[in-house]
């Protein structure tokens, strides 16, 4: 209590009596070579909170990532934690490192992007801090008031967080990306620690290789559903996507039927996208799929069933056989 008062007074003198002092730690997501685009969206959310922004880059030999992040305008400090234990970015090894940093710096907010990485890591950190994390926020009303969707995007909840440390994952598509220029943050190496875990070990990753843009940040997304009938037929969508420089997505039905791999799934339990243009081909438009794409600026639906729910959200609907319409579209573009 006394400490809080003292802190408020001290800060008060510096920033005016009523100024609140926020300090945010953003945990950067990267693959040791390049920064994930979602980190730039997360930084924009951090700016909205206000106060100092520190970015943690934890990994193995991640110099290039550090070099790109310290150029971001508005970042105060970049903490670099280089440790072999962080191979595979396992929450079991990263959490104790984050706790050590939190103990030293006493951040009021800890943020990551709401990706597989962020979702796996952040709740573990929150549990250790005994606070309730807030997942996948789409807006920030105040330093303690956040907006998120529930029920597959069919309701929007505004909540006030009562915990003293706010642990938050950020929906990338809901915040503009900051540009990687204009700043000159100072870098600081985090004291080394023994973060190796005997409990878990990273074996390997089996990533889908593609020359197309990344699904969650693409300007145009072409998605296929059950109506594609087979994995081979997805070639029709790849040709269209290549013409548009688009990413390819899929509905759960297409993934479950084995047409494409699961990392292409768009929806409540897959990826959330909000491109400028979303072209849904042979997708009926179940609640769970709409959850992942209904914030797209323009939605086009191609489906032979005029009753398909997708037409209720589509800006332009084409009632046609996709096996005729898609090749025609590709050819004429």
């Amino acid at each position: 209590m006394f400490a809080t008062c003292f802190r408020t007074l001290r800060i008060g003198n510096k920033y005016g009596l009523l100024a609140r002092y926020e300090s945010t730690l953003v945990i950067a997501e990267h693959n040791n070579e390049s920064l994930s685009p979602i980190t730039c969206n997360t930084l924009s959310a951090a700016k909205k909170i206000g106060g100092d922004i520190t970015v943690l880059v934890a990994g193995t030999k991640c110099d290039t990532v550090v070099q790109s992040i310290n150029k971001v305008n508005g970042v105060t400090k970049v903490l670099v934690a280089d440790n072999d234990a962080f191979k595979g970015f396992l929450p079991e090894t990263l959490t104790p490192a984050i706790l050590a940093i939190q103990n030293e710096h006493k951040f009021t907010h800890i943020l990551t992007g709401a990706t597989a990485f962020g979702k796996a890591l952040l709740p573990r950190v929150a549990a250790k801090l005994d606070v309730s994390p807030v997942s996948d926020i789409i807006d920030i009303k105040a330093a303690d008031t956040f907006v998120r969707t529930i029920y597959a995007g069919n309701a929007i909840q505004t909540l006030k967080c009562k915990d003293n440390i706010k642990v938050i994952s950020v929906r990338g598509t809901a915040f503009e990306a900051v540009s990687l220029e204009g700043g000159n943050a100072k870098c600081e190496v985090v004291p080394a620690g023994d973060y190796k875990s005997q409990l878990i070990s990273f074996v390997k990753q089996d990533l889908t290789k593609s020359d197309r843009p990344e699904l969650t940040s693409a300007k145009i997304v072409v998605s296929g559903g059950r109506g594609m009938k087979s994995g081979d037929n997805f070639k029709l969508l790849y040709s269209l996507a290549d013409k548009l420089n688009a990413a390819v997505g899929a509905s759960r039905a297409a993934v479950d039927a084995g047409f494409v791999s699961n990392d292409l799934q768009v929806g409540q339990t897959g990826k959330i996208v909000a491109p400028d243009l979303y072209i849904a081909v042979g997708i009926s438009g179940a609640i769970q799929h709409l959850a992942g794409m209904k914030d797209s600026k323009t939605i086009v639906a191609i489906n032979k069933d005029p009753e398909a729910p997708i037409f209720q959200v589509a800006d332009y609907g084409l009632v046609a056989d996709l096996f005729k319409a898609v090749p025609e579209l590709t050819e004429k573009l």
Partner: protein
């Protein structure tokens, strides 16, 4: 052999189009069809398959919630769980019950029941939090295999295939461990009528969070729950040419 604790949540059925209450305090739940969270069905199925392979000895299904939560425990028992524990939380306390509370309850129960494997769904389709497994792992200091699409057990080690953003990832975790089930993990079975009848005789223990010494005080205040913005109705175009013209007009191609 392992003892598995499986968390199951009663949620509004996935096919129901939800309605927001006019006073903006939440969504309408009275008189609405509820069922087991789809990811939890997958979690139970996986535990039952492990028991069938003699990798697991006993399965304990746990649900935290109002009296009706017993229905989903019964479903879990009919699918093959051995016993149930109902942690009753209802009324306003349930409105603000969050993964932070549930994970503490499940962690405590896992210790009391001497479980060495906890399986939950990756997220509940109502609050869409995707936190509980990770938080249990944090509380117990157990390794956590999140978003599992394949689980193989070899003595005291599990090889887990995880669904990550770019594809798949494989990790090895030592038991005791926490796992969260993704959609692709398995295809849950339907409970047969004889099994539903048998499930009626299986025990369900009823306790409260207080009995376990867990504080369920609200960590959040729900300020409002609102309808999402409605998209303006679009137009049906007659052919591909018109579609291309429209897309060119709006500057998309």
């Amino acid at each position: 052999m392992a003892r598995a604790l499986v968390g199951v949540k009663r949620v509004i059925d996935y096919a129901v189009k939800i309605r927001v209450k006019p006073d903006k305090t939440g969504v309408v739940t009275d008189g609405i069809k509820h069922s087991m969270n789809p990811f939890d069905e997958i979690a139970i199925e996986e535990a039952v398959r492990m028991k069938e392979k003699k990798l697991v000895q006993e399965i304990i299904a746990v649900s935290c919630g109002p009296p009706q939560s017993q229905d989903v425990i019964r479903t879990a028992l009919a699918m093959g769980a051995d016993k149930g524990i109902h942690v009753e939380v209802s009324g306003p306390e349930y409105e603000t019950l969050q993964p932070v509370h549930v994970s503490k309850i499940l962690a405590k129960l896992a210790q009391e029941e001497k479980a060495d494997l906890i399986i939950v769904g990756k997220q509940a389709i109502d609050d869409d939090s995707n936190q509980t497994a990770q938080m249990i792992g944090g509380i117990l200091d157990w390794p956590t295999g999140t978003f599992c699409s394949k689980i193989e057990k070899d003595n005291n080690e599990l090889t887990v295939t995880r669904e990550v953003d770019g594809g798949l990832e494989i990790v090895k975790v030592k038991m005791p461990a926490v796992l969260s089930a993704d959609l692709r993990l398995n295809e849950p079975r339907y409970a047969t009528l004889p099994n539903i009848m048998k499930a009626k005789k299986k025990p369900i223990k009823k306790i409260t969070a207080k009995d376990l010494g867990i504080d369920t005080a609200a960590r959040i205040e729900i300020l409002s729950v609102e309808e999402p913005p409605v998209r303006q109705a679009g137009a049906i175009v007659p052919d591909v040419d018109t579609l291309i013209t429209k897309l060119k007009e709006s500057g998309h191609v």
